[in-house]
Amino acid sequence: MQSKFPGKVLPFVLFLPSVVISVLFLYYPAFQTFLLSFHKTAFFGKKKLYVGWENFIETFTSLDYLNTVWVSMVFSAGVVIFGLALSIGTALLVNQTIRLKRIYVMILLLPYALSPVLAGIIWLFLFSPTAGIINYFLNLFFGIEPDWIGQGHLALIMVIVTTVWKNFGYNLVFVLAGLQNIPGEVLQAAEMDGASSFRRLWEVTLPLLSPILFFLVVMNLIYSFFGTFGIIDIMTKGAPLNSTNIMIYNLYRTAFIYTKSGSAATQSVILFALVAGLTLLQFRATRGRVFYSGA
């Protein structure tokens, strides 16, 4: 059904605020950032020196920056893989008709509503090498008290766990919705044909879930690259020795602690290109493997 707008001006007038805001707060700053990445600055941008590609060359040849990229990759891989595995597993369990199902789902969704700061503080406390409950039980059962904050790989595990926990609700909601959209007859048919529960999962459920899963992988990737700043800042600030220094945190540090806006803009452009590239890669790689119903 097509509706016509009375008059030709009205649509544009109504459209205008969105455009103004988008341009002012999204496109213009993005453009400025792009320009800034070709300058070196001091005093938060007051003094600018045009340096062409130098920022980019310096950044790409800096071992510290390459370490940051590596850490981000490992971090994101952890968040995506564990996050999705956990949510799919939990969703499958919760999706059965059990008593108190609603209450379980509600409890499982709660952490998503927490601010990253709170999530970070809670898990920092739990993981505390001297006062935390995790080490208490580890000591009780295995006699070890790992230094979660002082050791690089352990600190990375700590922030991955926190991030997965924090984002769990989001993943769960979508997987549950996806599961509920699978028509029961398909699974029953598979069962009658003699498929084991594993085969049912692997060859029926997951393929039917694939659009949701694909969506979630992209969203989790974006989240792990851009949305986890709060958790890192509260828990480790990139320490120990840059082992949890993901790209977005390094960007923040360069921009707001070292006040080198030019270098930060360069990192921003690189990060944008990386995530856009990853997403594109994803679309390519899963073409033909994602089954969208209805077309």
């Binding site: 605020p17 001091a42 005093f43 002082g150 120990p240």
Partner: protein, 448 residues
């Protein structure tokens, strides 16, 4: 309704909606129209989170005594966050009149062109500078000109647990004053079981800089940045290597526990829980340490910063912050800001501030009053802090670097690598020097 009327109505609706939208956009974009104020509004940004309530009262106090001024204070976060906020605000012409920054921001503030040196605002004879503690003034001086007003300066000192000392067989009235004595005291403490560790202090660049200053070694060239923008560092100097070696040796022998990078609270808590026999912290923490001792049932002693034996003590670099006035405000507001800084340095204000925080009072007359009223008898720890300050050699101390934080982060990273056993001291310092020199050169290039 006929066709023509309908069209007219639609046209009116369109115009009406268009007007509303236009008004909304204009209303959001037009800057606030400020009503004519009789009072000069002065804004003050600081980084003293735990003293925020006191500073608010102080602002009200000032506004009471100077009714033509309305002073508002705003706590902006850490020193770094405050400085960044000021730079960002100044960039759009919205800088606060007065802001606080520590040595990490002094050169940046000066180079940025956003500030007016205090000496430029004050006429000859307006302030009795001879009453001020010279080291504090030196700290706020660049190129012979006073750029800011000292407000909350401190220095590093050694705190020790007298009970643990007694248990370890050490003399509780005699704290170690050299690195070597500290090491042997730590060994005795740990061996006797009096405490788990001998000593603790945060993994913070402040101590590296202080020890370099005490050993009389500049950290960067161009007279430590005071004769011009530095371009090279002296991280491979003997003093630097010695400092790293000392720190590493204490760590390797498990006499020192690493509470974390910039982990002031964690470090202090280790001492307060009597897990370490000694701690190093700022003079601004005297009150808290004494209170901790009372609560924990042990006596706290205070002593000077330990330095390497056989090396002459050159004196400490002042920690803490100074207050700057920014440019670009109407004259009566700048005058009011100046009056605020003069007022805050008056003996009565500086005495109250010292008693509340432990930071140095900025004037000799204030120190005399504290002496006469028995303050130092009650808190002999402060006397130690003063003597250490006044015994320092005259002359400006501490490095002036535009990208202080970036440089010091690289130094701390080097130390962390040494602790983790990844690099030797020489290797770590060589790598750090390379990176630091690059960073210094970059700043020098941009600022010109």
């Amino acid at each position: 309704m006929n066709h023509i009327l309908k069209e007219k109505l639609m046209k009116r609706k369109t115009i009406f909606i268009g007007l509303m939208v236009g008004l909304l956009v204009v209303g959001l974009l037009v800057p606030k129209v400020s009503l004519a104020q009789e009072k000069a509004e002065v804004s003050f940004w600081h980084a003293m989170g735990w003293m925020d309530a006191y500073i608010k009262r102080m602002a009200e106090d000032f506004s009471f005594y100077y009714p033509a001024t309305k002073l508002t204070s705003l706590q902006k976060g850490s020193y770094t966050e405050t400085l960044t906020a000021v730079m960002a605000a100044a960039g759009v012409g919205d800088a606060p009149h007065v802001f606080q920054t520590s040595e990490i921001g002094t050169k940046q503030a000066y180079d940025s062109g956003y500030i007016t040196p205090f000496a430029d605002l004050v006429k000859v004879g307006e302030v009795d500078w001879t009453d001020f503690l010279q080291p504090l003034l030196d700290n706020a001086t660049i190129g012979g000109k006073l750029v800011s007003i000292p407000w909350n300066n401190s220095s590093p000192i050694l705190y020790y647990n007298k009970n643990i000392f007694k248990k370890a067989g050490l003399n509780p009235d005699n704290a170690p004053t050299t690195w070597e004595d500290v090491s042997s005291a730590c060994r005795k403490i740990v061996a006797s079981g009096a405490a788990q560790y001998g000593i603790v202090w945060p993994l913070h660049q402040w101590w590296y800089v202080e020890w370099m200053t005490e050993q009389g070694q500049d950290i960067v060239n161009n007279e430590n940045g005071r004769a011009g923008t530095p371009t090279e560092s002296y991280l491979l100097s003997e003093a630097s290597v010695r400092t790293f070696e000392f720190w590493k040796q204490l760590y390797d022998e498990k006499l020192y526990v690493n509470p974390g990078v910039e982990a002031w609270t964690e470090s202090n808590q280790i001492f307060w829980a009597q897990k370490a026999g000694m701690a190093m912290e700022s003079t601004a923490a005297v009150r808290r340490f004494l209170a901790g001792g009372l609560e924990g049932g042990y006596e706290v002693g205070v002593s000077v910063l330990p330095t390497p034996r056989g090396i002459k003590r050159h004196g400490i670099m002042l920690g803490g912050g100074t207050l700057f006035i920014t440019k670009g405000h109407p004259e009566e507001e700048t005058e009011a800001a100046k009056e605020f800084l003069k007022w805050i340095s008056l003996p009565e204000q500086t005495i109250r501030w010292h008693k509340a925080t432990g930071y140095y009072p900025s004037r000799h007359s204030a120190v005399n009053v504290l002496e006469l009223t028995g303050w130092f008898k009650q808190y002999p720890g402060y006397r130690v802090a003063f003597d250490q300050l006044l015994e320092s050699e005259p002359g400006t101390k501490g490095p002036l670097m535009g990208n202080y934080r970036e440089v010091t982060t690289l130094i701390v990273n080097a130390l962390e690598k040494v602790f983790a056993g990844k690099l030797t001291v020489k290797e770590a310092l060589t790598e750090a020097k390379q990176k630091v020199d690059k960073v210094l050169a970059e700043y020098a290039r941009i600022v010109g």
